[in-house]
């Protein structure tokens, strides 16, 4: 039981990343090639998951979709991490008013989920992979700021931190040499969970047409296409949905597994 989260999570995450990487070099069929004569083929050979309403090979489209998911996830989580962690550390190490200001800002940002930000950006400058990734990233900043702040406060109250401050180490130096290494593990856990949420958000956005524009294949767009034929071919909605669920589940389980390794006492509680 102790390892099941970590192992299952790692396998699923590795699977998604692998699919995305391989799709850069090779897919069984062209994931954008419309073949009117091969519409809505059932799973079999050579189309192992069948074809969609355009005659595109479903498995190839899912592989190419994995690439977009990984792209958006990396940009979004990277952005949230680079902005959120310094803010959280600063909030924990600075004066009360600055700390309050940062955390109030995080509270306000909570009222702007990724989708609302993406809608604003899409309305203002047009939808693209980048607007989606930025929207998801900005929306994830508060989570990182909170986690980083809580973890930093814990480090700050430790004896070695007191010793470092007594010895006259500057706050910045202390943050880099003592705080960051000690909060890194918690941040990784948050990053894994945020990656899962980023995938969900990307799927929702591309389903609504607020992310990567066509013809680039995304899992969300596949579901939108599937919805158009849902009365005749409901099974079309199955594979892209399973791909999303497996990817998100993978990152969530990986995050849980990492946290279990980090603090076995928390396993029961959180």
């Amino acid at each position: 039981m102790r390892w099941i989260n970590l192992v299952l999570g790692t396998v699923l995450v590795a699977g998604v990343i692998l699919l995305g990487l391989v799709s850069l070099a090779w897919t069984p069929f062209d994931p954008t090639l419309v073949v009117p004569g091969e519409r809505l083929q059932p799973p079999g050979w050579p189309h192992i998951l069948g074809t969609d309403a355009f005659g595109i090979d479903v498995f190839s489209r899912i592989m190419a979709g994995a690439r977009v998911v990984v792209q958006v996830g990396v940009v979004a989580v990277g952005l949230a991490l680079l902005v959120g962690v310094p803010l959280g550390v600063a909030a924990a190490m600075s004066h009360r008013w600055l700390s309050d200001l940062i955390m109030r800002g995080a509270d306000i940002l909570y009222a702007f989920p990724a989708l609302l930000l993406a809608i604003l950006l899409a309305a203002a400058v047009g939808a693209s992979t980048m607007t989606a990734a930025v929207a998801i990233g900005v929306a994830s900043v508060p989570a990182f700021a909170r986690v980083a702040r809580a973890a930093t406060l814990q480090v700050m109250s430790s004896d070695y931190m007191l010793a470092a401050r007594a010895a006259g180490t500057s706050p910045l130096a202390a943050a880099v040499t003592h705080v960051l290494p000690n909060i890194a593990a918690v941040i990784w856990v948050q990053a894994s969970a945020s990656f899962g949420m980023a995938i969900l958000a990307e799927a929702g956005l591309s389903y609504l047409g607020l992310a990567t524009p066509p013809p680039a294949p995304t899992w969300g767009r596949m579901l939108r296409d599937a919805q158009n034929v849902i009365f005749s071919n409901p099974e079309q909605a199955l594979w892209p949905g399973l791909a999303i669920a497996a990817a998100v589940l993978g990152f969530n389980l990986l995050g849980d597994g990492l946290r279990d390794q980090l603090d076995p006492r928390l396993r029961d509680i959180s």
């Binding site: 306000i108 989708l115 919805q227 669920a245 509680i269």
Partner: protein, 319 residues
């Protein structure tokens, strides 16, 4: 006295948050897109025509003046008019509020009703198969997007079984039964995902109560496990449920936008998506602001309600 002060502080924070949030919305919609008048008229328009339009729309005024005018207008219920169609934004929004409010409200109401028993099972039997099943169900529920749940429910209950309509909406006043049947699947799709998330927190809150000294005291005076947990745990669990529900509110609101698109419900979400498609910034700006105000106000109410639920906070002895 402490309570009054705490509520006043929370109110001040709310007003500040609303100002910041409205500024962000306004800035993104008005500063990022560039010259709106030029875009409306196209590249070939004469500079005079563009200037005239700019003047007519009030775009020649300084940015902050326009912002103040927009905020002032909203306070008196005037959300401005669409640059494209000239229709007042309020006229577009208000008829659609009911649809979204029903969807979000029912989902938020059902979410704890599903999550509490599931979380209780997951906590009490956490070393047995019942708990494992409940925990696994919550994990899977968190991983699937709400709109996919919607599609799956449609393919089973609308297409295969033919029990419920796959899309559309009927007003409650026109046909209560039709209204209900059109809302079942959208509300269910939204609830399943949110309840899965909440279950996780309910579980950990109950597990925490199980390890509390006061729960052991309750057991020592003769409470059986589950009645004792409900009697002494529920209030404590309610506090964390309330916090998480507050945080989930924003997710539920945006979830509703997607769900409205799946089931073609004529709510705020579909209005917003249409407006984005047409780059109708005044409509986007007004609708987004209404949603953000809702989230911020309800979160403030949640904070204030702690005062009622936790006597340690209420009597001002803590925090």
């Amino acid at each position: 006295m402490a309570t009054v002060r705490a509520v006043a502080v929370r109110l001040a924070v709310l007003v500040g948050s609303l100002l910041v949030a409205s500024f962000v919305v306004f800035a993104v919609c008005q500063a990022l897109p560039g010259d709106v008048a030029q875009q409306i008229l196209g590249e070939q328009a004469t500079p005079e025509a563009v200037d005239a339009l700019r003047q007519r729309l009030g775009l020649d005024r300084p940015f902050l003046v326009r912002y103040a005018a927009w905020v002032g207008g909203m306070l008196s219920g005037d959300f401005g008019s669409s640059y494209l169609t000239g229709v007042p934004v309020g006229d577009l929004i208000w008829p659609r509020v009911a649809v979204s409010a029903w969807l979000i409200g029912l989902a938020l109401l059902l979410t704890p009703l599903v999550a509490l028993p599931l979380g209780l099972v997951a906590a009490v039997w956490r070393r047995h198969w019942q708990g494992f099943v409940a925990t696994a169900a919550s994990q899977v529920g968190m991983a699937i997007p709400a709109f996919w749940t919607g599609l799956m429910l449609v393919s089973v209950f609308s297409i295969r079984l033919g029990w419920l309509p796959a899309n559309g909406y009927v007003a409650f006043a026109a046909d209560p039964a039709g209204w209900a049947s059109h809302l079942v699947l959208p509300v269910a799709s939204l609830t399943i995902v949110q309840a899965a998330m909440l279950t996780r927190y309910v579980r950990s809150a109950f597990v925490e109560v199980l390890t509390e000294d006061y729960f052991r005291t309750a057991r020592a005076i003769g409470w059986r496990r589950i009645p004792g947990l409900l009697r002494h745990g529920l209030r404590n669990v309610a506090l964390s449920v309330l916090t998480v529900l507050g945080l989930q509110l924003a997710a539920t609101v945006v979830g509703a936008i997607v769900i409205e698109s799946v089931f073609t419900l004529p709510g705020l979400g579909s209005l917003l998506l249409t407006a984005v498609g047409q780059r109708d910034l005044q409509v986007v700006q007004g609708t987004v602001m209404l949603l953000v105000v809702t989230v911020l106000v309800i979160n403030a109410l949640v904070d204030v309600s702690y005062q009622v639920l936790d006597p340690r906070v209420r009597t001002g002895d803590l925090r």
